[in-house]
C-alpha cells in the first residue's frame, strides 16, 4: 500500500489504484496497473481522462455512502414537503402562522436514477408514505415503486412528479437534462404552486440558469442543490442568495473513508482470485 506521493517516486509495482478525482494523466504513469477502484459513485471525472489505462474500473457502493445520500434525499424532500423555508422566514419575522399542507400520501415524489443509491432512497421516501415513482435509462423493477424508463417514459414520469429527486450519473445522455423545458413538464404541487427539485447527482446534469428561471417563473417552488456546473459554486452565482434555493457543498455522499477499507480489500482479493470486480464501470455506458 502506497499513497500517491510515495507512488509518484516509484510508479512500478502498483497493481491497484484507489482514487477520487485523480489528476488526468496520473493513472497512465502506472505501468503495472491491473484495476482502478473509484472511491465514490461518480466516475465522470475519471472517464474524462484522455489517458485512462484500459484496465477494469470499479465504483465503491458501500452501505455508508448509500445511507448518507438517502439521509440527504429524505431530509430535503421533507424540507420541501413540510414548507421548512416558509417557516424559517416566519421565524425571522416572529410570526406564528400555520399553513395547510398535504399528507405525504397525497404527494408524488419522482426519483431519477435507480442504481443502488437511487433504489434505496426511493424506498426510504416510500416508507414515509409518499407516492414514489422512479425513472432510469433502462427498465428496472422495484417493490412498491412505479417505474418508468428511457426517453419514451420520461414525460409521463415528469407529469406525475411534484418533488423531483435527481441521482443520475453524468453521461453524454444526461448532461444538461435538468433544463427549463424538462422542469416545465413537472406537476405543480397544488398547495405550494410549483414543483420541487433536489439534485444530488451531478452538476453537469443541470443548467444553473434554467433552475433560476424555473424558480422565478414559479414553475419550481423551491430547489435543493448539492451539485453545480462549476464547483465550488462561484461566489457571484445568483443561486447563493436566491430565497427558494438551498445550497450544500457537494456533501450529500460524504462518507467515513475508514468504512471503505474492508470493501476495497475484499474487491482486490476477489479480483486476484480471478473473479470480476463488483460494481464494474461500463465505459461505453459511462457509469
Amino acid at each position: 500500500m502506497r499513497t500517491w506521493s510515495a507512488a509518484a517516486q516509484n510508479t512500478r509495482g502498483v497493481s491497484y489504484a484507489c482514487v477520487w478525482l485523480p489528476p488526468h494523466g496520473l493513472l497512465a504513469r502506472l505501468p503495472d496497473l491491473k484495476a482502478v477502484i473509484n472511491l465514490g459513485a461518480g466516475v465522470d471525472h475519471l472517464l474524462a481522462d484522455p489517458a485512462l489505462p484500459a484496465v477494469p474500473i470499479a465504483r465503491v457502493a458501500h452501505d455508508d455512502l448509500t445511507a448518507r445520500v438517502t439521509e440527504y434525499v429524505v431530509l430535503h424532500t421533507l424540507m420541501h414537503h413540510r414548507r421548512q423555508r416558509l417557516y424559517d422566514s416566519q421565524q425571522r419575522e416572529r410570526a406564528w402562522r400555520v399553513h395547510d399542507q398535504p399528507a405525504a400520501s397525497e404527494v408524488a415524489v419522482g426519483v431519477m436514477g435507480l442504481g443502488v443509491i437511487g433504489s434505496h432512497a426511493a424506498d426510504a421516501i416510500a416508507r414515509l408514505g409518499f407516492r414514489v415513482a422512479g425513472w432510469s435509462r433502462s427498465p428496472k423493477t422495484l417493490s412498491g415503486i412505479e417505474t418508468f424508463h428511457g426517453s419514451a417514459g420520461l414525460d409521463a414520469f415528469l407529469a406525475r412528479t411534484e418533488i423531483l429527486v435527481c441521482l443520475l450519473p453524468r453521461t453524454r445522455e444526461t448532461e444538461g437534462l435538468l433544463n427549463l423545458a424538462l422542469l416545465r413538464k413537472l406537476k405543480r404541487d397544488g398547495a405550494a404552486g410549483g414543483a420541487w427539485l433536489v439534485n444530488a447527482g451531478r452538476g453537469q446534469l443541470q443548467v444553473d440558469a434554467d433552475i433560476v428561471s424555473a424558480l422565478d417563473e414559479g414553475m419550481l417552488a423551491g430547489a435543493t442543490l448539492d451539485v453545480f456546473q462549476e464547483e465550488p459554486l462561484a461566489s457571484d452565482s445568483p443561486l447563493w442568495s436566491h430565497p427558494k434555493v438551498t445550497i450544500t457543498p457537494h456533501n450529500a455522499g460524504d462518507i467515513s473513508p475508514g468504512l471503505f477499507a474492508p470493501q476495497v480489500i475484499a474487491q482486490i482479493e476477489r479480483f486476484e482470485r480471478g473473479l470480476p470486480l463488483d460494481n464494474l464501470v461500463d465505459r461505453a455506458r459511462g457509469y
Copy 2:
C-alpha cells in the same frame, strides 16, 4: 350531526362531542352526552376542564396524524444530524466548506414517549440507520429498539442519547421535565460539541428559559421546538431569534380533518354496540 354553534342553541340530544380545545365548561352543558372524542393526541387541555363530564373520552389515533408527526421528527432529526443550520449560515456567506459528519449508525437518538406516534417515529428513525432507544413511563417492548422506562431508567437513557426527541403527553409527572438538569445529562455529540433536542410533545414539558441556557452553555448544539409554555409564542421570546433554535407553530401533527371522519363514525358505531372506545383516555394517568 351538529356543529357547536347549532348545539349551543339546543344542547339536548347531543350524545357524542367531537372536540379540539373546547372552552372549559362547554361539555358540561350537554345533558345527554355519552362520550367525548378528542380530535388530536393531547388531552391535557380537556382534562384541565374543572366541569368535565364523567363520560368516556377517546383520543383519535389516525394514521395521518401518526405519519405527520413522524415526518416532523425525521425532518428535524436529519436537520440536526446533517448540520443543516450550519450549511444555511454558510450559504448566507457564500461559503463552500464541507464539515465532517458521523454516519447515522454512529449517532444515538432517544425518543421519549412510546405510544402509537412515538413508536412509529422511533421505527422510522431506526430505518435510516440511527441507533435508536425509547423511554416511556411504563415498560414497552419495541422490535429493534432498546427501551428504558420510569424514573429509574431515565438517566441511563439520557446518558446514551445525543439527539433527544420528546413526544410525551402533558401530565402532572411530565410538566417541566425538559429542564436544565435533564438536558445536562444528555450525551454530547462529539462532532457538534453538544446534544440536540426536538420537542413535538407539549410546551409545558419544557422550561423555555432552560432551553436557552442549555444552548448558551453549549450543552445543546441546537433545538427544534414545535410547542411552547405559552402559545402562540410571545413575540418578545428570545427563542425566536436564537441562532440555534428552529421554531414551528405547533403544526407537527396538523392533519387533514376529512381523513378523521370515518374513524370517528366507526368509534361511535362500536360504542353504540356496547364495545369500548379505542384509545380510551385514563383520567388518573392523564393521557
